[in-house]
Symmetry: C2
Subunit: 236 residues, 2 copies
């Protein structure tokens, strides 16, 4: 939507699909229009800020060394879904204008309308404003990539990060992002979607189990990194 | 090595590098020549048998549905290291002949000589015999693929499977396979190598920690698969 365009009435765009339990085709009160699309290199500044917020939330800023430059040099090097892939979540108080730049052979943006009881104030709206569209802001992202199950003999998706900014949480947007990955996996004939959760995060575990996931109790992650990894430079 | 060639004397091939604690440049007693090379589609029958043995070892045959066909349709679709990649471990009682088919721009085969106290009997030598070379047998494999750390802002490798056939275990071959992946990660500027281990497998945990890995106590794997995943087909 162009910045100068007058705000349309709060009715759904004809193209807005419905279907999730927490969305409805007749917005009343305070509609929040949400769109999931493939991220592009132009989104890197916003993605970098979202990752930094995630590191703060997880109290892991000491592990955060990513820069816009390091992301730019490693992401978007392959066609979508074949390697590291990012779905960006954008929200707006108005319907999204159809932007064919975001439509591709591999993915058509997903749109939903969430009807909120109260109007929502985004204290970071200016920081996460989308450069092109008037009141569109970036609200979250999910980064995933193919993994492989030798037992199934087929690929799956591993979800590395799923993040929704604080003021947009508990509205079904995280579920929408994860559902989008799961749906894409099914469409591609993949066998699994996997991710990790902290064992003390009971709310997250409950949420994931309600989405149909099993939490595997016995497996532990092994990680070789830093100087311990560097030691293998000349080991072979 | 051609099947009809006479066995050479048990001296190291000039090109055989050394360096691992459990290898030595002067084989005495019972040398075992080991080679790690990139697998090719021709190796799929052997890889399929190795995966099946792994499923038996892990008592997970109920999860084993891979076929040679499913492996052939999903593996070897990208250049090495950019997606699912397999290092194959071959062993022989004689030095390997230089096979330029296995040399590529992206990876030069790794060779080591392991000096064993006793001669080794492989009860499955016929099953795992390499079709081209006389007494070369496939002894194991490691399957890995890129993952991505948003905090580091760079890729790593995730090791999905590491398997060495029973009669070749406890000789340093598993360590050689994992070291090959770690070394490749360092060469590519990657930040981490990760894999998972069962929490009751104390021997494996000790082995991995000795290789420099940390076992992360708090993270749990979430898995969406089967009908629970299939339910997302029409959710979006």
């Amino acid at each position: 939507m162009a910045a100068a365009a007058p705000p349309p009435p709060p009715t759904p765009a004809p193209s807005a699909p419905t279907g999730l339990p927490d969305s409805d085709s007749t917005p009343v009160g305070h509609p929040l229009f949400a769109r999931i699309r493939l991220a592009t290199p132009l989104d890197i500044p916003h993605i970098h800020k979202l990752i930094h917020q995630m590191a703060i939330f997880e109290k892991l800023t000491h592990l955060f060394t990513a820069t816009e430059s390091s992301l730019a040099s490693t992401l978007f090097k392959s066609p979508p879904f074949l390697s590291f892939t990012i779905f960006l979540l954008e929200v707006s108080s108005h319907p999204f204008e159809k932007d064919l730049n975001f439509h591709s052979q591999s993915f058509t943006p997903i749109e939903r309308i969430f009807n909120l009881d109260h109007s929502l104030i985004d204290p970071e709206a200016e920081t996460f404003k989308n450069g092109i569209n008037g009141d569109v802001v970036v609200a979250g992202f999910v980064l995933f990539f193919p993994n492989f199950s030798t037992f199934l003999g087929k690929p799956g998706f591993y979800v590395e990060d799923l993040f929704v900014r604080e003021c947009y949480r508990r509205k079904g947007l995280g579920k929408l992002l994860l559902s989008a990955v799961a749906s894409q996996a099914v469409k591609m004939g993949y066998g699994r979607v996997e991710w990790v959760v902290l064992d003390w995060n009971v709310n997250a575990i409950k949420f994931y189990e309600e989405m149909g996931a099993n939490v595997l109790p016995e497996w532990r992650i092994c990680r070789l990194t830093g100087p311990a990894l560097e030691a293998y430079r000349d080991a072979i």
